[in-house]
Subunit: 706 residues, 2 copies
């Protein structure tokens, strides 16, 4: 049991790091009063949005808490609460640091690029380590509480259900935050660009544009808080699913507790390696920002290899393991595969979204012949970009399965996600620099400052795309682990049907010959499409509302354009807040309710009774895989395609094909606009959507068992 | 055995209809010499393309013929030849009528809309009935030859393999024709529009545009010949798959031959109802073209209900059937479900692509805020458009399976496809009217003529979208039947492993718990994405080449724009022919080679031997379903989305949101351009791609068994 407390210590380290880094960020110069005024407006808007979002989620959450308490007991419901609150906290704290770091980054960039990078990255690292640390602490402490203080057996159903509920809490925050934040940020971005850049002919982040504060708010609530919730969820859910698998596979083994502890221990050691890694991020002589970030990532990766080896040696040893056919060494190799998959997906995503390679260049060159060809080529690239990641994931499954069966896939995924602290750090520095650029522009700082923040921002675009690729790749693998958990859980209930009478006579048939399985696959397959459609439409609607609002302000206060009158920034923020909250609810409920709907619909169609249950469990299981199969492709194509469009525009702005203002540039702006909701709203939200469907199915099992 | 000859008679009727209708078309006035000159250029280009395409396919075909003859014997190889030749013939004859009917339709439209409609529809009906008739004749006569003249048992392996090979022949033509034709037509369309409408500012079909003949050629080789090959394949493959299932399910039943004949008989009777239906297509007092077409379709549908009932009564009766748990009546209801699915999919597709409903209007209204929002909304609609068809297909599977098991699904699909004659007729009239409009424009006919042909053309857009929805819906169901055939075939070989020693010890596990199944699903899932990406890129490249060529001609012959010099139309046609042929090869081979690659890769990875074979067969089976799951969504989203974009442009051109020339119109043109390769190249080609993957897997089984 020492192990659990050592892991808690690792988690606590991340909090300490966050406290230290926060105080170090806050100590920096916050710039002149104009800058502070702008930053305050952004912070205020972001806090107002987040407050409203959390209140809305709280209303849904209270209902779910009550349902869980009623059906599965208080301990399970509290697990749900822990997951939701900690996920919310990670996003909330991270964002609050972010809205303070933005202006300080802008100020630091007035003196040097290195200074700006250091500040922005430190702010990102706070979010990153809080995401990993709080998720790890939540799962570990609640697990320790249940098993140590409550004295429950590690694989007691209450423990398993409570952990799954913890994951569900995180998932619920995640889907709302990803979608709501995504709609907000892209509604502001698309709407603001359309009415500002295109109609009024003023540059991005021009203070005369009433949507400009909203745009900066969006960066924080979408790219920072939303992304943090997403990764928190992926981290927590994967850890939980791996623990559930361990609880089932090693139920009668003396290794039970250590196996359930293993994913947490891997998480713990990787927090230490991530913290060490942050100190490797230093701008070298080459002034390559990406190079500086990669130094940190590579340091973390290499150290993690050693760390994972140490953890496995300590907890289970490298030799043969009792009761299973694989060795500790095999599990170590699975961890290595997890790290390799991470590296490959990062590399592939960079290939598809970086300005140095064929895909982005091909979109840029097709912009010369117009808007239409730009979009056609962008769509082609977005579809093509799915192939290599899918093959990497396929290879990962084949190798880890042959090494250590389903548990091997789980350990690989857990190791992959253990790096989340570092990866989120790379991502969360993006909105800070994006905001810093906005503040520099609005406050009228000298051009060189904007140049520094733009350089940081361009790298932020790539790291954002890379993080999404990582999140979705790990979500794909994580969802397979969840499906395995569903399947093993179901087997467990059936085997113990004497204790769980609902499962008497149930014989699920997950074979592809079973039409209910085919139906489940198709139904699951349609969810990401419908969900994506809803997300895209919501952004279109929100952007349209912003266009109307800005036009109204320009019309009613002609002084705004002359600079003699101030636009009403708050109105746009408020409007988007309402729109995003309203639009996020129905699509978010789609994956929550679908497993329940499919279960009872198929149960009824198949004639009820044990046969109906068997059919329904089969269809729900297939639905989980169906969601993964299309979801993976929808999500990767959207996030990579969107990133490629964005950077094709940047590539042209760097002076290719006529540069800024050319016809090719106009076409590239169209592509970028299309890519916005692709990469920042619908695409990344598919990720929590996949997992929430799976985790609701797991909870459904638990509820039916009661 | 009378039944088979009666079916042949029905097939022969379709040929008679085609001969009668052709002579009636050819007797019409072919217009003035200028019109005839243009039509001749189009016909020449189309024939040149088709010749080259068939020659290229022939080279691939000869290799496959030899392989089949070597591995499975001459009778099987001849089956392949029959499928390929008849599919080619249907496209070739249909297209040759089409390129003659176009100019006559233009001429007829000079006097009345009704006259134009009658001629164009008659030309379409020739293609439609030849597709259904030749497919039916091919399968029926070869089946009769093998069983009657060669004296083989109806479910002899040679018969089964020969029928599957016949389907493969049709598939091979289909994928090349769909893709090659699609690249040609959209390369010409996109490229011609970009350089003509956008750059040079001349209207569509302006004779000064060197790409204009190529555009009209494209309509014929893509929308006529390509589509005919696609539907021929779907028809033949579904009939064959249903027969294979019957051969397995009723192997020891006296009903064997009648059950194998049933799908053919349904096809036969529906040819008669389709012919009758064509005479219902008459412009009523309301002058509604769509109404006239629907009259024909509804007449065919209602009569087919009676016809299917009669056929079932005659062949197997409505009562209980020996050896199975369902009745003849249940099979009749499955047929009804097939017709209902057809009706619903047509209705849903019209909803998503028609100018009267929310989806198209929402795209049009989002064009007001620019190119970007048009594309965003179009993509949202394209994704949303998949949900309802998927649910209809799911419902169809659930109902027919509960009525009569897997064979029920097969009969529903066979009935759905039996209407192909009529549906293709509705579709194939589109390219004729599209060409007629082009000829009217180029020959400088009065404006009213163009108005008539435009009215016909607009309806053609909707019927094209509707046919694609039908083709993909039926392909989705047909592919499930093929998967069932794969699965049953595999079971058969394993059960008879004494005779087929390759299958000794093979134990495929199609359960979703099997990681090889998950891997297969993911690999299958990536194929439509990769294939779609290749198709889109190919169109972009071909269009780019056309832009270069037209620019060159304008540059080198400045007289073209002044009307003093003639453009070199042949050069553009020739260039596209080469580009389309070159670009179609690799993507077409992707689905052909994938099952073979996956089988041997997984066999090796899983360690060879019986275990390796089991893993490999499981992965290949899952791959077949993976292709269907993502393919269905990719195909429906592309074809419906493309249709919606096209009609949103038309809706604006009808005077909404500022009409032609407005900014909204420009944005809508961008959307239409994006939709072009979506709906006419990549989307519809996914359809044969899905099936070819399945049918290659079936052949692989047969080859391994030898």
């Amino acid at each position: 049991m020492t192990a659990l407390w050592v892991i808690v210590l690792c988690g606590a380290l991340s909090i300490l790091y966050a406290i230290w880094a926060t105080s170090s960020v806050l100590k920096s110069d916050a710039g002149n009063p104009r800058m502070q005024e702008i930053a305050a407006a952004v912070a205020e808007g972001a806090q107002a949005y987040l407050k409203r979002q959390y209140m809305t989620i709280a209303m849904v959450g209270v209902v779910i808490f009550a349902l869980l308490a009623y059906f599965l007991g208080m301990l399970v419901a509290i697990g749900f609460l822990v997951g939701a609150v900690l996920s919310g906290a990670a996003g909330f704290i991270g964002m609050n640091v972010s809205v303070r770091a933005n202006v300080r980054t802008a100020q630091a960039a007035t003196t040097s690029l290195a200074g700006g990078l250091e500040l922005a990255f430190k702010a990102g690292a706070i979010t990153g380590l809080l995401v990993a640390g709080l998720a790890l602490l939540g799962v570990t402490i609640y697990f320790a509480y249940l098993t140590q203080i409550m004295g429950l057996k590690a694989n007691d159903r209450v423990v398993v259900d409570a952990l799954v509920a913890l994951g569900f809490g995180a998932s619920l925050i995640s889907i709302f935050a990803r979608l709501g934040g995504g709609i907000f940020t892209k509604g502001a971005d698309v709407g603001g660009d359309l009415v500002g850049k295109v109609e009024a002919g003023i540059p991005e982040d021009d203070p005369r544009n009433p949507a400009t504060i909203a745009d900066n708010v969006g960066d924080n609530v979408g790219d920072c808080a939303g992304m943090a919730a997403d990764l928190f969820e992926t981290y927590a859910v994967t850890a939980v699913a791996t623990m559930v698998l361990a609880a089932i596979f090693f139920a009668n083994s003396p290794l039970l507790v250590n196996m359930m502890t293993l994913p947490l221990a891997i998480g713990g050691v990787c927090i230490i390696t991530s913290i060490i890694g942050t100190f490797f991020v230093k701008l070298g002589a080459s002034q390559s920002i990406m190079g500086a970030l990669y130094k940190g990532l590579i340091a973390t990766g290499v150290l993690s290899l050693l760390g994972v080896a140490a953890v496995i040696h300590w907890l289970i040893g490298f030799g043969p393991l009792e009761g299973v056919k694989f060795t500790g060494m095999a599990l170590f190799w699975c961890g290595v595969v997890g790290l390799a998959v991470t590296g490959l997906i990062i590399w592939i995503t960079e290939y598809y979204t970086g300005t140095d390679y064929r895909p982005v260049k091909s979109i840029a060159s097709s912009s010369v012949t117009g808007h239409g060809t730009n979009v056609i080529q962008g769509l082609a690239i977005s579809m093509e970009a799915t192939a290599m990641p899918a093959i990497v994931i396929i290879a990962g499954i084949l190798i880890t399965y042959s090494l250590a069966g389903l548990f091997g896939i789980a350990i690989a995924t857990a190791t992959m996600l253990a790096l989340a602290g570092m990866i989120v750090a790379l991502d969360a520095f993006g909105p800070v620099t994006d905001n810093a650029g906005g503040i520099a522009e609005m406050a009228g700082l000298p051009k060189e400052v904007r140049k520094s923040t733009d350089a940081l921002d361009a790298v932020g675009n790539t790291t954002k795309a890379v993080t999404k690729g990582y999140a979705i790749g790990s979500a794909g693998l994580g969802a397979l682990v969840l499906f395995a958990a569903y399947n093993e859980d179901l087997k467990f209930f059936i085997a113990n049907a004497a204790k769980f009478p609902y499962f008497q006579g149930v014989l699920p048939d997950f074979s592809l010959n079973n039409p209910y399985v085919v139906v489940g696959l198709l139904f699951g397959g349609l969810l990401p499409y419908l969900f994506g459609a809803m997300g895209m439409t919501a952004v279109g609607r929100a952007a349209g509302a912003i266009v109307e609002e800005v036009r109204r302000q320009f019309r009613e206060k002609p002084g705004i354009m002359q600079g003699t009158d101030k636009p009403d920034y708050g109105k746009a923020v408020d409007l988007l807040t309402k729109a995003a909250i309203k639009e996020m609810i129905i699509p978010s409920l789609l994956p929550v309710l679908s497993p329940i709907f499919v279960y009872f619909a198929i149960y009824a169609i198949a004639g009820g009774g044990a046969a109906g249950k068997s059919a329904a469990f089969s269809a729900v299981g297939a639905m989980l895989l169906g969601v993964i199969v299309t979801g993976l492709f929808v999500a990767i194509s959207m996030t990579s395609g969107g990133g490629a469009w964005d950077n094709a525009k940047k590539y042209i702005e760097d002076g290719h094909y006529g540069g800024k203002g050319s016809d090719a540039h106009k076409a590239a702006v169209t592509g970028d606009t299309v890519g916005d909701p692709y990469k920042d709203t619908a695409g990344p939200a598919v990720n929590p959507m996949i997992k929430i469907t799976n985790i609701v199915a797991l909870l459904l099992l638990a509820i039916l068992a009661h």
